[in-house]
């Protein structure tokens, strides 16, 4: 890995990293607040039979329990948008964007192999994604403490939640980087990565709302990140294997493709 390139990769993200961290920390605090305020109401609604339970949940999460609320929080479109800034936006433009601007040529004229360029940028962006996720979980713990419901949260399992979340969002990030090394312009790379994220998300939400389509959730990476299960000590190792494979395969692809690509002069 190249230190200056790694450092500069972090520096490029600095401003949005700060803004998103503040926002996602606030979101993390808000979820236990909402849970404490509305969980009884929602439970009563479910018990009354006025609403099907599926409609009172979101994805694999719900407000019936604090761990369920955490799952809901991680699958909420707001979190998708905030983490997507880095896992989709920053990754898919990282190399294709340099390529389009013409700065990749200046970068690669330094004594750095393409493998090192890829590794340095990947490490930098994965670190940002991991930090943002950590900030969200930290906000959640702070919110639970403020609401006095920390006793409902098995803190000892939180590192595993972080690891599992890092694998999920890392998988989208490495996919974005694989797309980025494959195209000369960021547009197609962003489009492909965004489509990958949306399809996964669609399968997860569709399966949670429509019982006949529940099987689609198995094909969603989101379904393999279940904080509620992890906090209950019921982590399925297969989830880790699936997310691990989705994380590693794009890296292998990028390491094979990027060094072999011809980089003609920018248009």
């Amino acid at each position: 890995m190249n230190g200056p390139l790694f450092g500069q990769t972090l520096a490029w993200q600095r401003l949005r990293w700060i803004i998103v961290s503040i926002a996602i920390f606030g979101w993390g605090i808000l979820i236990p607040v909402v849970y404490a305020a509305f969980s009884d109401v929602i439970r009563d609604l479910a018990n009354s039979g006025a609403f099907p339970e599926e409609l009172l949940s979101f994805g694999s999460g719900s407000l019936f329990t604090l761990p369920g609320a955490l799952t809901l929080g991680t699958q909420h479109p707001l979190v998708l948008a905030m983490l997507g800034i880095f896992a989709v936006g920053a990754t898919s433009t990282a190399i294709a964007g340099e390529r389009q601007r013409g700065t990749l040529e200046v970068l690669l004229s330094r004594p750095i192999s393409r493998t090192t360029v890829y590794a340095s940028i990947t490490a930098g962006l994965l670190l940002v994604v991991a930090c943002v996720l950590f900030t969200f979980l930290a906000g959640f713990v702070v919110g639970a403490a403020i609401q006095g419901v920390l006793n409902e949260l098995p803190i000892e399992h939180m590192p595993m939640v972080l690891l599992n979340g890092c694998l999920l969002w890392g998988a989208f990030s490495t996919f974005g980087l694989a797309a980025s090394v494959s195209f000369d312009r960021p547009g197609p790379a962003i489009g492909l990565t965004l489509a990958y994220l949306i399809v996964n998300y669609f399968f997860e939400i569709l399966g949670s709302l429509w019982q006949e389509a529940e099987w689609t959730q198995e094909f969603s990476l989101f379904h393999h990140f279940q904080p509620a299960e992890i906090l209950a000590g019921a982590l399925d190792p297969i989830d880790l294997v699936i997310l691990g494979a989705a994380f590693v395969l794009p890296i292998v692809y990028a390491l094979v493709v990027f060094p072999r690509r011809d980089l003609a002069a920018p248009a």
Binding site: G3, G102, T103, S109, P111, I112, D262, L263, A265
Partner: protein
């Protein structure tokens, strides 16, 4: 055929993009300590050649070495010892000029010994260096490009159209920098389509057309071979022009004779020297004429200059 002092050496270098032949069987040696001009119009293959030397492109056939190292397997080490200025350089717009130079120097891993001197000679005051690149004019960007390529005192500088965007004063300063680098034993590979600057700064020139190397010549030799327009005036009748060596296309207008001179000037001058000679004008040969002659033909002829001639 290997030469020990070749800093750049290509043998049969070929690059195809599908059915497009970007480079075809290109063999050339660039000697240590020379300024080698790579001359050709846009799209001739100059940038493709440079990008192949730096490992951005992979050759379809043939081989190339830079500083004695293979471009396919030792590209990183080659780039450690090389300074590169891309044509129409793109920089990081959100950084200041100084931050760009610092960042690229850190990536290079070598101390930017020459930066202070280059900054002074190219007249980039500190106030300008502290401005963001997005506010720079094209000329200022080009100056940063030149500085980043040379600041770490590379053994070999590969410069793709380096004077693009520089005003005439800065072009002069740049030529001075090149002369100093050559005097210090550095090698410069210089691509251009500006004939006058190649004529001015280069020791040798390679002419490329449609991906094929048409010729490699000493610039002096190329100029010496060029036809010159001459005008001679005698007192009294003009002598028999057929006795003057190298003179052709002769026309006589009163006591003045016009013609085209081929070959050595000294022989011609000896032949026309006489007490009745009143005026003699020899227009200097320009590289442009030499260049246009190569390009005047309909289709490219396979490499006039093979490796042996190219040395």
């Amino acid at each position: 055929m290997e030469t020990t002092d070749a800093i750049i050496s290509t043998r049969g270098l070929t690059k195809h993009y599908g059915s497009v032949d970007a480079l075809t069987d290109l063999s050339v040696d660039v000697r240590h300590g020379e300024i080698f001009g790579f001359l050709g119009p846009n799209g001739a293959g100059k940038s493709t050649m440079i990008r192949t030397l730096l490992g951005f492109l992979h050759a379809t056939h043939g081989s190339a070495s830079v500083l004695g190292m293979d471009v396919a397997t030792e590209s990183v080490e080659i780039r450690r010892l090389t300074g590169y200025l891309p044509g129409g350089i793109a920089l990081y717009d959100s950084l200041t000029g100084e931050q760009v130079l610092d960042y690229l120097a850190r990536l290079q891993g070598r101390t930017p010994y020459r930066r202070a001197d280059l900054v002074e000679r190219l007249r980039m005051p500190q106030a300008d260096l502290r401005r963001r690149v997005r506010d720079y004019s094209r000329g200022m960007r080009q100056k940063i490009g030149v500085i980043q390529a040379l600041q770490h005192d590379p053994e070999l500088a590969i410069l793709d159209e380096p004077t693009e965007g520089l005003d005439p004063l800065m072009q002069q300063a740049f030529y001075g920098i090149l002369a100093d680098l050559r005097a210090e034993g550095r090698t410069i590979f210089f691509s251009s389509h500006v004939l006058s600057e190649v004529e001015r700064v280069c020791d040798r020139v390679g002419i490329i057309r449609q991906g094929r190397l048409m010729a490699v010549h000493e610039v002096r030799e190329l100029l010496a071979r060029r036809r010159r327009r001459v005008s001679i005036q005698w007192r009294g009748a003009a002598p028999d022009a057929s006795t003057i060596p190298g003179l052709a296309d002769v026309t006589v207008d009163g006591d003045r004779l016009f013609g085209t001179l081929h070959g050595e000037v000294s022989e011609f001058v000896r032949a026309v020297a006489s007490p009745s000679l009143e005026d003699l004008t020899i227009e200097p040969a320009s590289l442009e004429e030499a260049f246009l002659e190569y390009y005047a033909e309909e289709a490219p002829t396979p490499a006039v200059a093979g490796p042996s001639e190219a040395k």
